[in-house]
Amino acid sequence: MSSAVLTAVGLRKTYGTTPALAGADFGISAGETVAVMGPSGSGKSTLLHCLAGIVLPDAGTIMYGGRKLSALSDAERSALRRSEFGFVFQFGQLVPELTCIENVALPLRLTGHSRRAAERAAMPWLERLEVADLANKRPGEISGGQGQRVAVARALATAPRVVFADEPTGALDSLNGERVMELLTDAARATKAAVVLVTHDPRVAAYADREIVVRDGHTRSMGAAA
């Protein structure tokens, strides 16, 4: 695998007495989309949270851009998430009080852009995800599919090197879900962003370049792109 952006070796994580990860490995290159599959409770989301530096693994190493993620402080990991990572979740991720454009501008504002600059930079992303006309609506006033597009726009707005998507189409019907996946993978490929895509839906996973399966906290690679 060439030019890996993010690699993880031997990740272990236990919540209480339940082991969520029991020796998981992972690697992703720039511009690559990797689907993380597996049954419910297999540790998919925990793997994503560890890779994104949201939680620290109990054991194992995560390397990102030559830095050991697990050795960074909470503040440093937060800064990394602000500037280099993007996130899409299943639902409830948009700040309900903010308009769509403000939601997309949010990560830019977190990295220190002014309100005006952030919203100027956010607009093309809304256009790219075909929701530009919803810019001034609040999340409560738009449909689930539209909200997910806004979320994808938000994840990509900072030009992240890695996008973490946790069941991004989980709450959508298949037509909307496919469109969101198309837009996400297209945009990610165009910006050379790596996408870690957690899903249990094979048809969503089919948008990835390859897949890994998490079973009982172990990862199993299912072969590289043909």
Partner: protein, 195 residues
């Protein structure tokens, strides 16, 4: 290059599954219902709509037409000078229209899929002491690879492409779910098969 050959294989498999079952004769009858035409036109209509990467042979068209002619479902409406089957203009008969209608309103019998090669393979692997899980994982990887390719084709294609690919994708997904379920139950299956 591997991509294309593989895709051709796939589509052929599915064309056989979908198209041959709906039978070429009914399709040609259906085309004729909108007006008489030559065997040549029928082949082109067919290729354009359902042929994908596997066009009909002329021989196939004419043998079908002559069978229909024999059963009185079509008739030769006119013949251009020169003779030979390619000169004949075919038209549908009353009986032909009834036959098409009958075919269209009769629901297709859903496949029961009770005979599965995959299942046979898994059981045999267990019986011969081979690693059935590995077999399932290999099949899973193969299925997903196919799904990825179909997805890629779908995103670039038109509506017809999308529908045909979706048909395939949904079937593959169903297989994949079965693979997942079987993987999760492999231990129980082993115990039952060996007992």
């Amino acid at each position: 290059m591997r991509h294309t050959t593989h895709l051709l294989y796939t589509l052929n498999v599915y064309t056989v599954c979908i198209v041959l079952r709906m039978t070429i004769s009914h399709t040609l009858l259906g085309f004729l219902e909108s007006g008489p035409c030559h065997g040549y036109d029928l082949k082109h209509s067919y290729d354009q709509r359902f042929g994908n990467d596997r066009p009909l042979h002329y021989g196939q068209v004419y043998s079908t037409l002559s069978r229909l002619l024999k059963r009185g479902l079509v008739e030769v409406e006119g013949m251009e000078p020169g003779g030979g089957p390619e000169r004949k203009r075919y038209a549908i008969t009353e009986a032909g229209v009834t036959d098409v209608t009958q075919w269209l309103v009769t629901p297709e019998k859903p496949d029961s899929y009770l005979q599965s090669t995959l299942y046979t393979k898994v059981v045999l692997a267990i019986l011969t002491g081979r690693d059935a899980a590995k077999l399932l994982d290999a099949q899973r990887a193969e299925h997903l690879r196919l799904m990825r390719e179909l997805t890629r084709r779908k995103t670039g294609g038109d509506l017809a492409d999308q529908l045909i690919c979706d048909h395939a994708l949904f079937h593959l997904e169903a297989d994949l779910r079965w693979l997942e379920l079987t993987t999760a139950r492999i231990d129980r299956l082993s115990a039952e098969v060996r007992s």
